[in-house]
Symmetry: C2
Subunit: 95 residues, 2 copies
């Protein structure tokens, strides 16, 4: 059974706690671009986030290059944002 | 001093050897999307490519998610494609 999609109120409430995360894909996903000092630090972040994603079996779509990493979360099975996306975005903030 | 940009003939000749790589960004970059079995394998590829990139101090822009990794090479300092981009694309093929 797939996770329930957040209501608009749940979604907006959750986003208030997520500094720098923005809605994208018609409100079905959240995205943030993180800045780093170089490529190695960007890659280190992606690896740490990858470990968390693997642990929860919920994987972001990422962009990665010299000094940046972009993270997008959505729940494909549910067709939108779920509590799991919010949970992993919060985990990304703590890395 | 920045690397010289490839001539059109050099570029087209090099691309003949690079299966699946396509010109993008108005011919100033090359891109390929690689397919993998899951997130872990995509990330493993990105880490291996990252090590090669770091070694040459020439870094791709990447996309990464469950079952795929996209690789884009360009030489920003030169404003286009150089021999270094071709070299690293070939290295990516061997990973």
């Amino acid at each position: 059974m797939s996770e329930p999609v957040l209501t608009l109120i749940e979604r907006d409430f959750a986003l208030e706690d997520l500094q720098g995360w923005q809605l994208t894909q018609d409100g079905k996903a959240i995205h943030k671009r993180f800045a780093f000092k170089n490529f190695v630090e960007s890659l280190a972040f992606v690896n740490k986030l990858g470990a968390v994603a693997e642990e929860h079996n919920h994987h972001p779509d990422l962009t990665l290059g010299w000094g940046y990493a972009g993270v997008l979360f959505t729940t494909h099975d549910s067709g939108g944002l779920t509590a799991l996306d919010i949970q992993l975005a919060k985990a990304a903030e703590k890395l």
